[in-house]
């Protein structure tokens, strides 16, 4: 949409600043705020799904709670006629062209929600437990396998949880709720960083 010549001089700020403790000890653990991405809420009739998929070359999962992840593009099926597409910022123009093609052929709604949400990447052996500090869902891998996604709550905040790996989750939350959510994560990181208690088995 924006051509090279009038690229803006304004800066983007997602409004979340994570404490150093959140970064974890290695690459493989901790919480990071994901850089600004493009996000679209895609709505169309379920019966058009296959045709839209064919035209757009975007994988659109059929089942609610299932996601497709390809390279830098994730599509989460959140409802019978609702998909959330998250992709790298560089995809914006290409995606907008795709959506124009879809919109001209199908009854649909494409809404840019790039700045509505912020995304967190949560990685490490405590990832599941961390989300479970406020999310009442059973996130164990046998119930919530890799690729599974859902709209749910964390305490009283609506979030979207996507499992990207055995110990890796992507969490989406509305912008103004993000600092609040990250404070819970921060408190949890402080708790797990103190020496573990002696008794107690399992995890």
């Amino acid at each position: 949409m924006l051509s090279e010549k009038n690229r803006t001089i304004l800066f983007m700020d997602q409004g979340v600043h994570l404490a150093p403790i959140m970064s974890g000890e290695t690459e493989a653990d901790g919480v990071t705020l994901i850089n600004v991405q493009v996000r679209y809420s895609l709505r169309f009739k379920p019966e058009d799904r296959v045709a839209v998929q064919k035209l757009s070359k975007i994988d659109l999962p059929e089942k609610i709670g299932v996601s497709s992840i390809k390279n830098d593009k994730m599509v989460l099926c959140l409802g019978p006629d609702e998909w959330l597409l998250i992709a790298d910022l560089s995809r914006k123009e290409e995606l907008q062209q795709t959506f124009e093609r879809i919109s001209s052929k199908f009854v649909c709604s494409v809404v840019d929600v790039s700045h509505r949400n912020t995304g967190f990447s949560i990685r490490g052996p405590y990832a599941e437990t961390m989300i479970n500090t406020g999310c009442p869902l059973d996130l164990s891998i046998r119930v919530f396998p890799i690729g599974r996604c859902t709209r749910t709550v964390y305490e009283s905040t609506e979030i979207i949880v996507l499992r990207k790996g055995e110990a890796e989750f992507h969490v989406e939350v509305w912008r103004s709720f993000a600092p609040y959510l990250s404070h819970f994560f921060e408190k949890f990181m402080m708790d797990v960083s103190v020496p573990q208690r002696e008794t107690g088995g399992g995890k």
């Binding site: 649909c108 709604s109 700045h115 479970n132 999310c135 709720f177 708790d191 103190v194």
Partner: protein, 990 residues
């Protein structure tokens, strides 16, 4: 004095001496002790004063059922916990605890005068006495009673600890890690099920911890326990949670578990949470919560040194502490004999076993004879002796509840009582499982579960080690084929109150030790006509202390049953409610303490407002800048300045919190027609319209400016607070009433930062920054929307005005909000750009008579009431609320209508909410005809203005009305609510 510490007994590290302080005195204990066991090892039984009579009290039990030994646990400022049971307080080096409810000290307590005058404090005394004079209740009686009666003082400092919480899921939750629970967990976890085992104690093992002599499957009990726990620990699918109390059992196998993390640690790490609440959803719950021994009810049964027999066994075998040197045992159950034998074998003299039953099993008698312990059957302790500690008991023979011999005295320094066992059915009862009465054990046991729950072991009335292990294993999905050396658990009788040789009106036989309820109190309640245990409980307060009657409920029920001469089932059982044991507020709050209690939503521009001294106000979950005081301005001065600057130059306002919904699809206009009162079909793309939304009842629910971006795309705005309910209502109608419409709704509130520029200079300021949008009035008229870029960022630019001035609302993707705001402030310097807050926004809109839904409307205002019939599409066949507008009472006269008010004294700013009357000088109660909804000082008009809803108000235009206030009645005239620029010319400045 450590003469009570028995070497070779117990599980605690004898060599690890630690020090602690109780009531300022230093004592020695051992690592592994509780405060109670350590004090007992020092020969200290006296640990507290009772609730009502201030009677000296010693420790009665050894677990969470303790009713007497409540202490204040002091870890420094912000870490003082009153009413901690000494029996559950784990000792660490340096622990400080204090006794409670006494003055000047524990040994000499002035409040004990209550005991002397106890005849003045029968059950329900506060309902009978202290009624006169009435005024004395608040100032004298109640504060004095509060001071004298009670528990430890509530802490005054804020809790400095933090608390954690987590949700967990498991296939099997085992509550209680005694033998039955461990057997259940072993069996349940074999198949890979996720198993959580929670036990309130620091060590898993339950009753096994005090029965080291038993053999299980060929192994000594402690060895079996150790190996079993090793097995459980080694299984990845098992989570063991010691120090974790299952506090409540709720619907659908949802349970609350509180884990204590730091109270037992010597070195307190302030970063570590003190407690963690586990909210567990379990597939199946195995309740293995054991049972609690029951006291006997006899005269003087609360003397320090009188305690439960089972507790003595725990102190001896688990903590290596003898509860006395010369111990008498008073029992109605076989189980006390084993305790007496253990004590005797550890070198403690057992003065006598006094058994109320006529016959005692020959096996037990033989065992007693071997140890030279005398057993008196059909005997009763008819009273006890001693002041701060028991010194002896009087024993008599008994027949048919009557004493038939002259009491004989024997000396003792401790009296154990064993009145049978009460299965702990609390959690089962929380889950609404039904109970059934078992006469043979004199207790209720689980009957039909209401959840997928199984009770095993003693809590199910299944007493005896082998039976408990087997039942546990079977419940866990295994086979119960345990062999143990444990003898038959034995039998017993449960009793009501036991006879005394003294005047029954002068003695006290306690039923509820914590709330100081005696057998007499219960009988009095029955005499006064209370027949149900629920009433008896509330009248006498039996079972209503923080221990919820763990040791008293069944004695109370049986006494009541005898007095009413009705079976126990008819008297009823009290209801158990969570939490099982007292629970800290911190654990319930978890991470959501302080600022975390509720989210404070902030816009992308909030940080700038904060840095520039804004005063904030909460608007639903958002915080919004209310005004920007400069150089010590108060609100009035700041708002006056902000209003003037906006009307004369240009003001800048953060409107990001406005709700936004994108409505997209070929049926978008059709949907809009149905949801809003206004017509949308003819609205051209690129134009805006004010939209009014009603509820089904025809009353105004929300409003906002709506832009049509394309034939099939609307950009809807809602009020800040209304955004969620508007979207919810729209979705509700779309999905249930008009599913055939091809339209979708997406919340975009947070997608856009919205910056409003208002004032004559707004266009000039904006023009050089915007690309792709022609801003001239001809091509961009009032109530239009355009898409383009501002400083290179995509924007949806609205030309709208909530101030009456030339106005623009710049929507940009939210992450750019702050940077754009700062760029506009910079670009506007030359125009005197002034940031303003919600207060100025309110004044500017009120000057123009624009309503705020929720302030000028209250859920009973129709469009016509608000003077907004113009917003209704007259030709529309339907919209939400249309039918209600035809109701007779909506069309009738006499409805309150929105009008403007001008006070006769222009300096008077009326109070919002003030009532309005038609004439002055009415006597109270006056006839109210309406109230003030909005009221401000208007800088533009240099006088006050107000809006109000008044019965038939529009017809009264020009008339005077009156606003009676405490000091003065104000007079005002009804006028149009459009106070400023009624022709709207200011919108058109070029």
């Amino acid at each position: 004095m450590t003469g009570f510490r028995k070497t070779g007994c117990g599980r605690i590290a004898e060599a690890q001496v630690i020090h602690f302080t109780f009531d300022g005195k230093k004592y020695e204990g051992r690592k592994g002790d509780t405060l109670a066991s350590a004090l007992l090892a020092n020969g200290v039984h006296l640990m507290g004063r009772s609730f009502k009579y201030h009677r000296p009290r010693g420790v009665m039990g050894a677990g969470s059922e303790e009713a007497n030994a409540l202490v204040t646990f002091d870890r420094g400022p912000g870490r003082v916990t009153p009413n901690v049971r000494a029996t559950t307080l784990e000792l660490f080096d340096g622990l400080v605890a204090r006794s409670q409810n006494n003055w000047p000290n524990l040994k000499f307590d002035f409040g004990a005068i209550n005991d002397v005058f106890s005849m003045m404090f029968p059950a329900g005394f506060y309902n009978k006495t202290f009624m006169w004079p009435k005024s004395f209740w608040d100032k004298v009686y109640e504060p004095v009673i509060r001071k004298l009666a009670g528990l430890g003082p509530a802490p005054t400092a804020a809790d400095v600890d933090h608390y954690a919480n987590i949700y967990r899921h498991c296939d099997v939750l085992v509550a209680g890690a005694g033998p039955a629970g461990i057997a259940a967990a072993l069996a349940a976890s074999e198949t890979g099920n996720r198993v959580i085992v929670a036990d309130e104690q620091n060590e898993l093992g339950g009753s096994l911890l005090c029965t080291p002599g038993t053999i299980i499957d060929g192994q000594p009990a402690w060895q079996w326990l150790k190996e079993s726990i090793e097995i459980l620990k080694s299984r990845q699918n098992v989570t063991l949670l010691p120090r974790t109390t299952v506090i409540g059992y709720y619907h659908d196998n949802y349970l609350g578990l509180v884990e204590r993390l730091t109270d037992h640690e010597k070195n307190l790490n302030p970063d570590k949470p003190r407690e963690r609440m586990h909210r567990v959803r379990a597939g199946k719950v195995i309740l293995a919560t054991g049972s609690i021994e029951r006291p006997l009810v006899f005269a003087g049964n609360d003397r320090p040194g009188v305690m439960l027999a089972s507790a003595a066994q725990i102190y001896l075998n688990r903590y290596g502490v003898a509860v006395g040197n010369n111990v008498a045992v008073f029992t109605s159950h076989d189980s006390a004999y084993e305790v007496a034998f253990d004590l005797s074998d550890a070198g403690v003299n057992v003065a006598s076993i006094i058994d109320v039953r006529p016959t005692v099993s020959e096996v037990l008698l033989e065992q007693a004879r071997k140890r030279a312990i005398t057993v008196q059957s059909r005997a009763v302790v008819c009273r006890t002796q001693g002041r701060l500690k028991i010194t002896g008991v009087h024993i008599a023979q008994m027949q048919d509840q009557n004493i038939i011999t002259r009491p004989t005295h024997i000396a003792c320094d401790c009296l154990l009582m064993a009145g049978g066992w009460t299965p702990s059915v609390h959690l089962f009862s929380h889950s609404k499982g039904s109970l059934k009465w078992h006469d043979d054990i004199g207790a209720s046991v689980p009957d039909l579960p209401n959840e997928n729950a199984v009770s095993v072991g003693a809590c199910n009335g299944t007493f005896g080690l082998t039976a408990g292990l087997d039942e546990g294993a079977i419940a866990g999905g295994g086979q119960g084929k345990f062999s143990t050396s444990a003898t038959e658990f034995g039998r017993g009788q449960t009793w009501q109150a036991l006879p005394t040789d003294r005047d029954p009106s002068k003695i006290k036989a306690f039923v509820d030790f914590q709330n100081d309820v005696t057998e007499k109190d219960i009988n009095l309640a029955i005499r006064e006509g209370f027949k149900s245990i629920e009433h008896v409980k509330r009248y006498t307060t039996t079972g209503m202390a923080t221990d919820q009657g763990k040791t008293s409920n069944l004695n109370a029920v049986q006494i009541a049953s005898k007095a009413i001469q009705a079976p126990v089932q008819q008297v009823g059982l009290t209801t158990f409610r969570p939490p099982y044991t007292p629970t800290s507020f911190g654990a319930l709050v978890g991470y959501r303490a302080g600022d975390m209690f509720e989210v404070t939503r902030k816009t992308s521009i909030d940080g700038w407002a904060e840095e520039n001294g804004a005063v904030f106000e909460p608007v639903s979950l958002w915080r919004r800048a209310r005004y920007f005081p400069q150089g010590g301005e108060d609100m009035h001065a700041a708002v006056t300045r902000e209003c003037e600057a906006t009307r004369k130059g240009v003001g800048i306002f953060d409107a990001s919190t406005l709700g936004k919904i994108e409505i997209v699809g070929p049926d978008a206009a059709k949907f809009m027609n149905l949801m809003y009162t206004n017509p949308w079909t003819m609205l051209a793309a690129g134009r805006c319209r004010y939209g009014l939304m009603l509820g089904e009842d025809g009353y105004i629910m929300d409003d906002g400016v709506i832009g049509r971006l394309a034939d099939d795309r609307f950009h809807v705005t809602t009020t800040t607070g209304g955004a969620p309910r508007v979207l919810r209502m729209m979705e509700d109608y779309l999905q249930t009433e008009w599913p055939e419409l091809d339209v979708w709704l997406t919340s975009t509130t947070e997608q856009w930062a919205v910056i409003a520029l208002n004032g004559p200079h707004a266009r000039k300021l904006l023009e050089p920054l915007v690309d792709g949008i022609e801003l001239s009035p001809e091509s961009f008229p009032h109530m239009a929307v355009r898409e383009g870029t501002i400083l290179g960022v995509e924007t949806r630019l609205f030309r709208v005005s909530f101030s009456g001035e030339l106005g623009f609302e710049i929507n940009v993707p939210a992450h750019y909000g702050r940077d754009l705001w700062e760029a506009l402030i910079k670009a506007g310097e030359g125009y005197g750009i002034t940031p303003y807050g919600t207060e100025t926004m309110h004044v500017l809109r009120a000057e123009k008579g624009f309503i705020i839904v929720g302030q000028d409307t209250d859920g009973t205002i129709t469009p016509d009431d608000a003077g907004m019939s113009w917003a209704i599409g007259k030709k529309k066949l339907d919209f939400v609320g249309k039918r209600s507008l035809d109701r007779a009472d909506i069309k009738a006269s006499g409805r309150k209508q929105l009008v403007g008010l001008l006070t006769d004294d222009p300096d008077i700013v009326l109070e919002e909410g003030a009532h309005i009357v038609a004439t002055s000088g009415q006597s109270v109660p006056m006839t109210m005809i309406g109230h003030v909804t909005s009221s401000y000082w208007s800088a533009a008009l240099n006088r006050s203005i107000a809006m109000a809803v008044i019965k038939d108000g529009r017809a009264l235009t020009g008339k005077s009305i009156y606003i009676p206030m405490p000091k003065k009645t104000h007079e005002a005239k009804i006028c149009s609510a459009v106070f400023y620029d009624p022709k709207g010319e200011r919108l058109n400045v070029v």
